[in-house]
Amino acid sequence: MKTDVLIAGVGGQGQVLASRLIGAAAILEGYAVRTGETIGMSQRGGSVVSHVRIGGESLAATVPFGQADLLIGFELCEAVRNLKRLSKKGRLIVNTQRINPVTVSLGMEQYDAGAMEETLKRAAQDAIFLDGYSLAREAGSVKAVNVVLLGTAVGAGYLPLSRESFLQAIRDILPQKLHDLNFAAFDKGYELGNRAVEDKTAQIK
């Protein structure tokens, strides 16, 4: 069982922690895992991508083009930017919050959110769009948006890992004072992912 995951967002959204949590959960379930991170200059408000490769042989740290099984977009246009790595059968989870690049703030470029959502919907049959920030705020802090999105992926069955493994990974990696916040954030996302897939199944029936 090999699963290639991409996490795309803007520097400061907690991608590195998200990839560490996926990695830790995968190890708990006995999978080999490899990740590739963006650290450095581009972190200053730039585009950030984490590659997480679960299972399979020893692999390169980056997911090849057209091969990702799951793309988690922490931000709308960053999801679109990384679609080229998504496989034709790949699935999508997208946080609909938009963070304007400075080029857009300055009026040098356009940010056409509507067109981007359409592009994303065309690219993947299984796509869940959610307002991750609101859920994170409900859980106690907008900073937990990364964990909300992981919860959604697991709840929807898009990641081959269990809720219990993630809760354990949170316990193992984060300081204790952050456990309850992140459990709550994970479950907010988990319930939404669960529901989204149920609704979809109901629609098809």
Binding site: G40, G45, G46, F65, P101, V104, L106, G107
Partner: protein, 581 residues
């Protein structure tokens, strides 16, 4: 027990397990975390050095003193440390001496794309190159053994994708390596011509022995598969090639200098077509061609940038990736920007307003090149801003110096700006140098440096006094100023640029990301007062957004630094919650 570790973290673990005692480094992406993780082991003495040259000299000293010693740097750091490296190759070592150098193919965070293997060959120093985190740890331990066995410094070369990717690592115990006795030996450690001539002979003999070792060591090994295609590769390129070729035959090189000629011949004889897959320079390829082995490499694959499995499949196997969702043109580019609250923003706003020529340097403030601040004219290497401003004055005359400033960060100034400033004073220059003192090394992720007053372990230490330092080298005009006090800053810079003698302006304000920096909370724009003159947009603050019909503040990004209130002539900014800013 297996643990998920960054390549850099695994290097630190290897240093720990190898029983090393001393580590010195200057931060530089993608090498920084090596030393940060080493600092977590109390068994190893660790420090931030003022620059890479000092770091390597400290490590050489520790090695001569009998300890296993190490230093880490990015590829361009090795240029700074090249002087001690080339001669340490002659002296050899006492305790094992391992130098970690992280190259940055694709230039994620660098000013050039140089290949460390070429420098290592020029310095006649062996090189190991790991492919993943486990090898990072294992090769580090091996490197200390090789260093001691062959009496040589050794380089472990990383690239960004190895340094910054996580993989599983099997942990081991720390070896108990006692300090080797130190014995005075001028023939080995004093490189005067008479001694150095003898040592050069030793270096050449050592390289021959290392080539033999390279043939025998399991670091270099053949993985026989389908014999139609043979791939010679190393480092991260091995992973890409494995993924692209699957069941081909591989000669995996863990030791890339000196190369194992016997093993290469054996491999070549066993396969039909041989490809060399290596990022950047044709280092292995050229060597194979020199040996008369017809390999293919750079004729098919680029000299520039990073590789990936798709690229190899396409260029060598002719397999195009499935129709890609190629829609990047729809997406706005997202360049890195100075953070909200960044102290540098005030300085660049003023420099742009004054239309000065700005020789720049390496750090977060290099982002002052980008729109809308667009102030910086040059950026070459650490410390270059100071020397370049002086050179421009000497070429273009004193009037040019009235319109030019050098801009350099506190840590970069200590690294190699101070020598340039001494040059200005000594050579009767009149340049103005602005030191951006934000109390930390920012771009690499908040490391302490001699101007912060704390060590790598966070312990208080003697702090370099920048004012006294500049005065001591002969600069009489040293002014300290808050870069958010735009009016005063503008006045000070005008006066210092006009002065017919060297001057230093220290723009002092801590990095907005430092924990102790507190602002007053987000602002918003009163739309009735805002005339949409867009003066505030000229600050290039990511929190201020042009919505077309109006300008607004993104409350999630705004920290409340209040710089915008100082450029707004209509008092349109107010504190969320009511208090007028």
């Amino acid at each position: 027990m297996k643990q998920l570790m960054l390549g850099n973290e695994a290097i630190a673990r290897g240093v720990y397990e190898a029983g090393a005692k001393v580590a010195s480094a200057y931060p530089g992406t993608p090498s920084t975390e090596i030393t940060e993780y080493i600092a977590e082991y109390d068994e190893i003495y660790s420090e931030w050095a003022p620059n890479e040259k000092v770091a390597l000299e400290v490590a050489i000293g520790a090695s001569v003193g009998g300890a296993r010693a190490t230093c880490a740097m990015k590829h361009v750091g090795l240029n700074v440390a090249a002087d001690p490296l080339f001669t340490a190759a002659y002296t050899g070592v006492n305790g094992g001496l391992v130098i970690f150098v992280a190259d940055d193919p694709g230039m994620h965070s660098s000013q050039n794309e140089q290949d460390t293997r070429l420098i290592a060959r020029a310095a006649k120093v062996p090189v190991l190159e790991p492919s993943d985190s486990q090898e990072c740890k294992d090769f580090t331990r091996k490197a200390f053994e090789i260093s001691e066995q062959f009496d040589t410094p050794i380089i472990v070369r990383l690239t960004t994708r190895v340094a910054h990717s996580q993989g599983l690592v099997e942990l081991g115990e720390r070896e108990d390596i006692p300090l080797k006795p130190y014995a005075k030996d001028p023939g080995k450690y004093v490189m005067m011509p008479a001694m150095a001539r003898k040592r050069h002979v030793v270096v050449e003999e050592r390289l021959e022995k290392l080539t033999e070792y390279s043939n025998e060591t399991p670091l270099n090994h053949i993985e026989w598969g389908d014999r139609k295609i043979g791939v010679i590769t190393s480092g991260i390129a091995y992973q890409y090639a494995k993924e692209a070729f699957g069941n081909a035959s591989f000669l995996k090189l863990g030791m890339v200098y000196p190369l194992p000629e016997k093993l290469i011949r054996e491999f070549a004889a066993g396969v039909e077509t041989i490809y060399v897959i290596e990022e950047l320079e044709p280092f292995i390829e050229d060597h194979c061609l020199k040996m008369g082995i017809p390999v293919k490499g750079k004729a098919l694959l680029p000299l520039i940038g990073e590789y990936n499995a798709n690229l190899i499949r396409e260029r060598i196997l002719g397999q195009k990736a499935e129709k890609l969702n190629n829609i990047e043109e729809e997406v706005p580019v997202r360049p890195p920007v100075m953070c909200p609250g960044c102290p540098h923003r005030g300085l660049f706003y003023v420099l742009k307003k004054l239309k000065l020529t700005v020789t720049g340097d390496i750090g977060c403030y290099t982002l002052g090149t980008l729109a809308p601040l667009e102030s910086m004219d040059t950026c070459v290497c650490m410390g270059a801003s100071v020397g370049m401003a002086h050179g421009m004055e000497k070429a273009m005359g004193r009037d040019a110096a009235r319109k030019t400033v050098a801009v350099i960060g506190d840590s970069t100034f200590i690294h190699s700006g101070i020598t340039g400033l001494i040059g200005i004073v000594y050579n009767k220059g009149t340049s103005t140098v602005v030191i951006l003192d934000n109390s930390i090394t920012g771009m690499t992720g908040h490391q302490h440096n001699p101007t912060t007053g704390f060590t790598i372990k966070g312990e208080p230490t003697r702090q370099v006094d920048l004012v006294k330092l500049c005065q001591a080298v002969g600069v009489d005009r040293v002014r300290v100023c808050d870069p958010f006090d735009l009016e005063t800053l503008e006045k000070v810079i005008k006066e210092e640029v006009a002065a017919d003698e060297p001057s230093v302006v220290i723009a002092q304000r801590p990095c907005a990301l430092l924990k102790h920096v507190k602002f007053n909370g987000a602002l918003r724009i009163d739309r009735e007062k805002c005339t949409r003159c867009k003066m505030c947009m000229r600050l290039g603050c990511p929190a201020i957004v042009d919505r077309g019909t109006h300008v607004e503040v993104n409350p999630a990004l705004c920290v409340g630094c209040d710089l915008c209130t100082k450029v707004c002539r209509f008092n349109a900014f107010e504190r969320v919650g009511g208090d007028h800013a």
